[in-house]
Amino acid sequence: MSNGENKFEHYVHSLRFDDEPSKDHQDKLEKQLLEVYDNRQKYGGHVEPVAVYMRKLAIAAGFLIVCGVLFWGIDKLIITEPHPDFIANHPDRAKLEKIIKDEQATGTEKKNLIATMSDIWDMVGNEDTDALVSILQTDDIARSIRTWAAEYLGRFGNDQTLTMLDSAILKLDATDPNDPLKIAASEIRKRLNRPEPQTPPGPDAMKAPSMKSLDDCEPQAD
């Protein structure tokens, strides 16, 4: 041992460390170790303290929660968040911006509105007439959006679409000429040169003749 090593050893020994063992800690630890040791003896050495199991369980649960939140977030993002440039790059940009403005939509509402527009635009792209006819009947969707959808449906709808639209008009008793269903039907008719439907006869047409008029028909007595 060198002199330097010797001196350093004396120096370290001259220091008073706070290293007095605690009887309390020793007893608790011994108890815990004996438990672990006994369990290992009983179950073939594969049993871990409950605390370790709980920790593993907590980690697994935490992992699942994180995965769930991530999945939910991504799912929500995919479903509700349209392409950020959807409006900016859309050929009807001005019209769509006006719809958003008229609807006074902000925050989540605006996000949902754009998502609906994006969905409708996909239907238009796929010429999904059934889905579009269904959209035109949905009161939950802003009328301005349905009108926008109706204009596109009018461009590619066929006779079958017309039948569906007429049926919906009759069912919903849509009399307003600005109703999206009517707009779409009218556009298709113009494009396919189909005649406008006959207005169904009014309720008065079916009334029975009055008794007074029958009396009038009786032969006159001489």
């Binding site: 460390f17 630890l29 011994e30």
Partner: protein, 176 residues
């Protein structure tokens, strides 16, 4: 039970070793617990004798302490501490005076600047009083390697003391 008696026989020295190397008592107790829990888990696989058992425990303790410093990044803090003025106010235990605590803090911080293997060697040598052969058994090293690494570590420690406590460096290390 053999297990219990082994625990009681070695608890004190393992705790003291942890307390001298770690920043505070509570950390020392935590690490001591981990050392013995690891010991229990692998108890059946240990086949050596009593002296081998002691070496094995110290090996686990060294690993746990190094792992603690790696995880807590205290190593960097210790180096930073050495760069600052050594006289720092710390909360003291009732029975430890300020000067003594300051010396201990500085010593721990200086040791933390060494490589993990060298920290183990210095701590086992000066905190536990193990000789080169015993340290070699713990560290799975040749005693000659232990001696040379110990010598290098002491030179580095002396340098740390010289930089920060020039007036006391020669009192602590008289060689060179």
């Amino acid at each position: 039970m053999a297990f219990s008696s082994l625990f009681r026989r070695h608890y004190d020295e393992i705790f003291r070793y942890c307390a001298r190397r770690l920043p505070d008592r509570s950390t020392a107790e935590d690490i001591t617990s981990q050392v013995f829990l690891k010991m229990v888990k692998n108890f059946d696989s240990f086949t050596g004798d009593e002296s081998g058992f002691r070496c094995w425990l110290f090996r686990i303790a060294c690993n746990e302490i190094n792992s603690f410093y790696r995880k807590s990044a205290r190593h960097n803090k210790a180096i930073e501490k050495l760069r600052q003025q050594p006289q720092q106010q710390e909360q003291l235990s009732d029975d430890l005076d300020h000067e003594n605590q300051d010396k201990i803090d500085f010593l721990k911080a200086a040791i933390e600047t060494l490589k993990p293997d060298h920290q183990d060697i210095v701590a086992l040598r000066f905190f536990q009083g193990l000789n080169s052969e015993q340290i070699g058994d713990v560290m799975h090293m040749n005693p000659a390697t232990v001696r040379s690494q110990l010598s290098r570590s002491l030179k580095k420690l002396k340098k740390q003391y010289r930089l920060h406590r020039q007036q006391t460096a020669e009192e602590i290390f008289s060689y060179e």
